[in-house]
Amino acid sequence: MAATKTAIDLSAAMVTQAVPLADWLLVAPILLTMAGGALTIILRKKSAAQPWIAISVISLVLLSNIALLNHVLSNGVVTMVMGSWLPPFGIAFTADALGALLALTASVATLCVAIFAMNSIAANERRYGFYPFLLMLLCGVTGSFLTGDIFNLYVWFEVLLISSFGLQVLGNEKTQIDGAVKYAVLNLIATTLFLAATGLLYGLVGTLNMADIATKVKAFDNSGPVLGLATLYFLAFGMKAAAFPVNFWLPASYHTPRLVVTAIFAGLLTKVGVYALLRVMILLMPEGRDWLASLIGVVAIATMLTGAFGALAQTDIRRTMAYLVIAGIGAMLSGIAVGNQVAISGTIFYSMHSVLIMTALYLLVAFMYQMSGTFSLREIGGLYIRTPLGAGIALILLLAVAGLPPFSGFWAKLLLVAGALEADRGWVAFGILASGLLTTIAVGRIWIFAFWRGGNENTVDGIQALPIAGSADASDVSASIWLPLIVLTALIVVIGVLPEGVMSISEYGAKTLIDPTVYIGSVFGGAQ
């Protein structure tokens, strides 16, 4: 109670030394998004002010995440425990290069989506909560990336899931309910598995703090419970990340919400699953990963190939993009299957690339729909004449998702292939290259049909057909649509041309994951 005056030595249980202000960068994104979400709910009737509140809050989060990444790169892993209670009892927020990089990328993607949504989300849908849900989604995603406690990770998963349910049914259409049910059921099963596995893990090692788990789990090396837990976690997070064969929910649900919503889903949600896999498989249970490596390899190759073939088979560009998300997930999983430092940094690089490229591609689909009035590759055409700038952006984005140089996807795949060859996993390398080839064909088809061909599928070569009724003209496209597309494309090009920065960050992140001494030292540094 109030200031008990008796002399109790608090330093045994609590942090007593002053905490530098910079450590608050760990919780700043969460506090900002929560407060911003609350503010947009209170002002829900002022639909004109909503985008501006959201955009300024997300910009602040972006700045804070830049500062956090900078802090992590110059001072190593940063930890803050809630309520001053020393770990493992206080909930720890711990940012390493992996978490900070992904949190930063997530805020970039969310900012682009918030700007893009200014024109594409109708005022009445804003009133139904687009911006509050978007802010809470960012809150959940950033929380997942920055927390150092596995049960807390579960809580952030719930935050982002509930926000994503809200975003998914925005618009109240029948197909949206259908998509949301598939999405919700599968994700709830995955979350339940995650919770069950966490309960079992707590029963086994008696702690929920990730750094503490990483230390204590070594006492159980190669025993049945640890391997069983690793498998449970792999299934739970694999489902969230949309790994084969538990990925059918993704193409079944991603084409139903508003496209801006899908853009943020495709950018962030599956990557949270990959992130959680990295944390659990590499940091917490490396033995479990070694034991599962071949299985993860097979799953990764199957995911990449189903994604690439799925993308080839579709004629609806929204569905093609959904399969491209899956192909990317396969590539990220392949890094976890290989498990050496090069491959893990490839996975981290690819996650970052994938957040940017998938958000950009879905925004591109929304733009193409606005220009042509259709999603079907049979109907679409003639966009090159109507928007040369759009055609250029589309070419860059589509080649980047296939992993062609000089764009960001190339370096990620290069690291993944190099890692796989180094570890003598030729099949994984082959899978990455084969899916890259198939993806190139799939995206090439989109560009040729939508931009090069003069009109719909019956158009004769060299003829420019009339645009479909109801489609917009390039001059009608507002700046709020161009700006996010151009910014994301520019980022992808810049990272592709100057990859050293991101490469060294992901290498640093991979090093901390594989050898967790720095991570553990950061959490328990005060205690020892």
């Binding site: 109670m1 109030a2 200031a3 942090v15 002053a18 905490v19 202000l21 450590d23 608050w24 760990l26 919780v27 506090l31 929560m34 407060a35 979400g37 609350a38 503010l39 709910i41 209170i42 829900r44 803050m80 425990v81 809630m82 309520g83 001053s84 206080g90 927020f93």
Partner: protein, 138 residues
Amino acid sequence: MNTLILRTVAPYLTALMLLFSVFVLLRGHNEPGGGFIGGLIAVSAFAIYGIACGVSAVRRAMKFHPMSIAASGLVLAVLSVLPSLFLGQPAMTSQWYAVPFLGTAIDLSTPLFFDVGVYLVVVGAISSIALSLEERAD
């Protein structure tokens, strides 16, 4: 439900339950209780009032829209995290302040404000769900 007995009793029952919810909220720091459970009790009070006297009566009685109540609770919870920022302590470190009141001291603390925030979030969110469900039933 349009029975005279329920309609007569409901306002008193609601008032009692709301009072009880505040009691549960306040005792929550050291004993079973707290913002979440207190909030649920308050929502049940509103729900009973809604069943007896109709949803519009509840909305009038609540004065603010449930969503605004939930959002202000969230703001309060976020604000209660901040004081430790200015004292160089980690987030959510509790701060205590004893207020002298009629010869005794009342302990005010940041966890109390956090809990009140949780109470408001639960009251707002769940009652907005409950009220819209009751509205459909009408």
